[in-house]
């Protein structure tokens, strides 16, 4: 009897211990997350109420920075341009993205899969590269601009260096993401819902507008808000296209104010601007939640017993094909092609034969000049280390937030989603401040590890957005089964849940690598000799007018992304879209 009792007592205490160790880890993960996000937010928050940079001993409290948001001429002048810019970006991206998604996912458009493959290229390109491509192809001296005016006789057929000009480019850069959001929704629709409408007597157009589009509404709302957020916080394209002609948006103003050559950088105003940006983004996300909560649970049950054909375009087939081809060629292929061509030539102009101008000089520069080479290696290092560390961190956060009964798991869930509303510039600024005051972090100043911290904060939500839904799809019965055989939380997570979520974690790793290679805006405040990344080097070369090496670096960025993603996708068999 005595032994019979002591055995369960032992397992009982072992189980309590296991739970206890789980609790410690859960608390640690939560604290680390709060500290990281706090790093990005608190110094900037304090700075907002100070009249001089935070590190000045005589800095005093002021609300002048906030007042300046509505009174400063220079600030208020950006509002109109920013609004126009965002409207056009969203319009272009939504129109192109939604129609591509429906044409590819739902209709019998010829060459659908080829279109999709090309259309998604820009996902792997940083907006900077797209901006460079746009200038090389459609700028005043761009190849296509000149060809077009020669062919039509129109001088200056369009003006890239304008708010609409750069907005269209930013919209094209944002289109693939919109396509992806909508494509999933388009493909996942029960094809029988369309067939049912057809049986009821509806034609293709009516099915499109009455059935397909409305059912996609949640995805459309989501894509719409994400597009506004993206347009609001985009820095690279307004900076390289709008910068030289003095067009200022909210983001470029923040950038300019931080790097003002004359006098003190206006960090207080910068913080206030950054928080204004954040507040707008925050409100938008709130609206999105509100809008999506009202949408009814879109259910479809059971197996698809009849697999109907894709929606027939009929006589619209070839016009639609033509439109898609125009978009893909002029919106994707030309932009990328211009960058490639420029990287291989001294000059890119209709007056000079491509073969006369061909050179490998830019590549040899990029690989031999110390600064260039270092920025490539730094980017590679950050991508691999940051991707791995970030994935591990995201996994830990997701498991506490989604699969534990930790007391503050809802708080952690909110913290993990918070960086989504933090524009890259704000994160960079926060980490920059932290590096001046927080003991420990200051040791990392001027190294790429500081950049790494900024990236981890910046992309926490992106990774979490992949891993957390995947975890939700794994039934909790697995955990309960593990618990029933005596496993504690930590054991259950590492032995059961982690292996089951392998696919999602690998996708997260790939996504983080791609994002890090492309990232630029959160790194601009943290650059120092020795800690350059490709994005920052490209920008400084561009301002020096060295378009050749910029193009070569851009190609290296593309190549780096392709190699890293194909290694992971081929070898580990990760599906990228899904």
């Amino acid at each position: 009897m005595g032994t019979a009792l002591s055995v369960p007592a032992q397992t009982q205490s072992a189980r309590v211990r296991a739970q206890g160790s789980g609790h410690t880890i859960q608390t640690a993960i939560t604290i680390i997350s709060i500290v990281l996000v706090g790093i990005a937010l608190i110094p900037a928050l304090v700075q907002m109420f100070l009249d001089k940079p935070l590190y000045y001993p005589d800095a005093r409290f002021t609300i002048q920075n906030i007042v300046a948001l509505v009174s400063d001429r220079e600030v208020t002048a950006t509002f109109g341009a920013t609004f126009l810019f965002c409207s056009i970006v969203v319009l272009v991206s939504m129109a192109l993205g939604t129609s591509s998604a429906i044409l590819i996912g739902r209709t019998d458009l010829p060459g659908r899969s080829a279109f999709l493959a090309i259309l998604l290229w820009p996902l792997f390109l940083s907006p900077q590269v797209i901006g460079f491509g746009a200038i090389l192809a459609y700028g005043p001296a761009g190849l296509l601009t000149i060809w077009f005016s020669d062919a039509t006789g129109l001088t200056e057929p369009w003006n890239l260096y304008s708010v609409p000009g750069m907005a269209v480019v930013a919209g094209i850069a944002a289109t693939p993401v919109t396509t992806l959001y909508c494509l999933t929704a388009a493909i996942q629709q029960d094809p029988n819902q369309e067939a049912a409408a057809r049986i009821a007597g509806a034609g293709s157009l009516r099915i499109l507008f009455r059935i397909i589009l409305p059912i996609m509404r949640p995805a459309l709302i989501f894509a719409f808000i994400m597009n506004i957020v993206n347009a609001l916080e985009t820095l690279a394209i307004p900076l390289i296209i709008g910068g030289p002609v003095g067009i200022k948006l909210l983001t470029t103003l923040i950038y300019d104010k931080s790097f003002e050559s004359a006098g003190l950088p206006q960090y207080g105003l910068v913080s206030a601007l950054a928080f204004a940006l954040m507040a707008i983004v925050g409100v938008l996300f709130f609206l999105q939640r509100l809008a999506l909560r009202q949408s009814h649970r879109f259910v479809s049950v059971g197996a698809k017993s009849i697999q109907p054909k894709m929606l027939a375009l009929g006589s619209w087939k070839w016009p639609a094909f033509l439109l898609m081809a125009v978009y893909v060629v002029f919106g994707v292929v030309v932009l990328v092609g211009a960058v490639f061509a420029r990287s291989l030539t001294f000059i890119l102009s209709p007056d000079v034969s491509f073969f006369d101008a061909v050179t490998l000089q830019h590549y040899s520069d990029v690989l031999s000049v110390e600064v260039y080479r270092r920025s490539i290696l730094n980017t590679l290092l950050l991508a691999v280390v940051g991707g791995a560390l970030g994935t591990a961190f995201v996994a830990a956060v997701a498991m506490v937030a989604q699969r534990s009964n930790y007391r503050y798991r809802r708080v952690l869930d909110a913290v993990a989603q918070l960086p989504r509303v933090l524009p890259g510039l704000v994160v960079g600024l926060g980490v920059f401040y932290a590096s001046m005051f927080v003991p420990g972090i200051d040791l990392l100043r001027n190294t790429i590890w500081l950049v790494l911290i900024a990236y981890l904060i910046r992309f926490l939500s992106s990774g979490y957005g992949i891993v957390s839904p995947a975890l939700l799809q794994i039934t909790g019965d697995f955990d309960r089964a593990a618990k029933s055989v005596g496993a504690g939380w930590t054991t259950t997570m590492t032995r059961i849940v982690l292996p089951l979520s392998k696919q999602a974690l690998l996708s997260c790793f790939v996504l983080l690598m791609i994002l890090i290679i492309k990232e630029y805006s959160s790194a601009v405040f943290l650059m120092a000799p020795g800690s350059e990344v490709i994005g920052s080097t490209m920008l400084s070369l561009w301002t020096q007018g060295l378009a050749g090496p910029v193009a070569a670096l851009a190609v290296m960025q593309i190549v780096l992304t392709s190699i890293l993603t194909s290694i992971v996708t081929r070898i580990l068999g990760v599906k990228l879209h899904g």
Partner: protein
């Protein structure tokens, strides 16, 4: 209301033949069921009728109008066929209320205003869903969605009603009720109905006629009684009602009747006329036709050994062994003894040629 004539309908997917020259007709107001296992071609047939899939060859006419004819190249799209199709997944449009789901087809037919309203309410009352007009599909249970889906196909009074396994997403109890209700509704509306299912009890309970399909071809067409009592092939015997199927050797006496020899060497007499030559055959016996605890002087008496028993509620199922041959037997009571005598009435034994189930019925 209309009748349907299908002539030599084939559907090929590359080298795979999903439908092989299938011909049948559906009479005006008839309830016809296409029954078969998955992959037998029943859903392909339904999709061809609906106009959702273009067959490779053949001809379909509905209500006297040719909707598909491979020779003259006619193919009327689903949109213009004026049919009602109810999907296994219901395919209710999630962004529309119950009312709007039904109204959509009426709108396309320019039925508006008071008449539309009246029709929608009428149809919803018919399926007992009148109280749910303003709900969204996501707010309904599976059984309620099924009713709305049916109302949606009935409201615009289609020429024929096509039902694709409409009950398979319901739980067993609900399915039984829905079956009665569906059958009642069909008789009341009198709409010509083509029903696809793999569930033989649904087919037997609902249909005026059943078409049993196997591997893209029709195995038998007949009333539920015919299909059950006089299966045309071993496949039909097995698929409808799960017969005991076994091999045996047939000896005919030249006068039409004969004897079969089981693998254990025991002989059974079979009532004639038998149109098969002597030799190996497949024998089918319904489980409920075998009688346990038989008197020794009955026909075709065999000694058995009780192997297993299971209680089904209203009936009992016994598995008994005769030599090396197992039989499933359904009966009211199972004798308590492990051994006994069973009898198989000679009228209940069907013999089929061994060359796979495609051969003609012999008995």
């Amino acid at each position: 209301m209309a009748d349907v004539v299908v002539t030599d309908l084939s559907r090929h997917y590359g080298s795979f033949i999903a439908l092989d020259e299938v011909s049948f007709d559906v009479k005006d107001g008839e309830f016809l069921t296409l029954l078969g296992p998955s992959g037998c071609g029943k859903s392909t047939t339904l999709a061809s009728l609906a106009g959702l899939d273009r067959p490779t060859s053949g001809k379909i006419s509905i209500g006297g109008r040719t909707v598909f004819d491979s020779e003259s190249g006619i193919f009327i799209d689903a949109q213009y066929r004026d049919l009602g199709l109810m999907f296994q997944s219901y395919a209710l449009w999630p962004h529309m209320t119950v009312y709007k789901n039904i109204d959509f087809a009426l709108e396309l037919r320019k039925i508006r205003g008071a008449e539309a309203k009246q029709r929608i309410h009428e149809t919803l009352e018919m399926v007992d869903m009148g109280a749910f007009v303003s709900r969204y599909p996501g707010e309904l249970s599976g059984g309620q969605q099924q009713r709305v889906a049916l109302a949606r196909t009935l409201a615009y009074r289609p020429q024929i009603l096509l039902l694709d396994e409409p009950l398979s997403n319901l739980d067993a109890k609900l399915r039984e009720r829905a079956r009665l209700w569906l059958s009642d509704l069909q008789r009341r509306t009198g709409v010509t109905t083509v029903y696809v299912t793999h569930d033989q009890s649904e087919a037997l309970a609902l249909s005026d006629r059943i078409i049993v399909m196997e591997r893209g071809a029709i195995a038998q067409i007949g009333s539920p009684e015919e299909v059950y009592e006089r299966p045309a092939t071993a496949f039909v015997a097995d698929f409808v009602g799960a017969s005991n199927l076994f091999e045996a050797i047939l000896e005919t006496d030249g006068l039409g009747s004969g004897k079969i020899t089981l693998s254990s060497g025991q002989k059974l007499t079979v009532e004639g006329p038998i149109n098969l030559p002597s030799g190996p055959v497949i024998v089918s016996v319904r489980p409920e036709k075998i009688e346990l605890s038989a008197a020794p002087d009955k026909q075709n008496v065999l000694a058995y050994e009780l192997e297993a028993r299971s209680y089904l509620g209203a009936r009992n199922l016994a598995v008994v062994k005769v030599g090396s041959q197992s039989f499933r037997v359904e009966c009211d009571t199972i004798p308590g003894t492990p051994n006994g005598l069973l009898s198989i009435p000679e009228t209940e034994i069907r013999v089929f040629p061994t060359a796979e189930a495609g051969g003609r019925r012999s008995h």
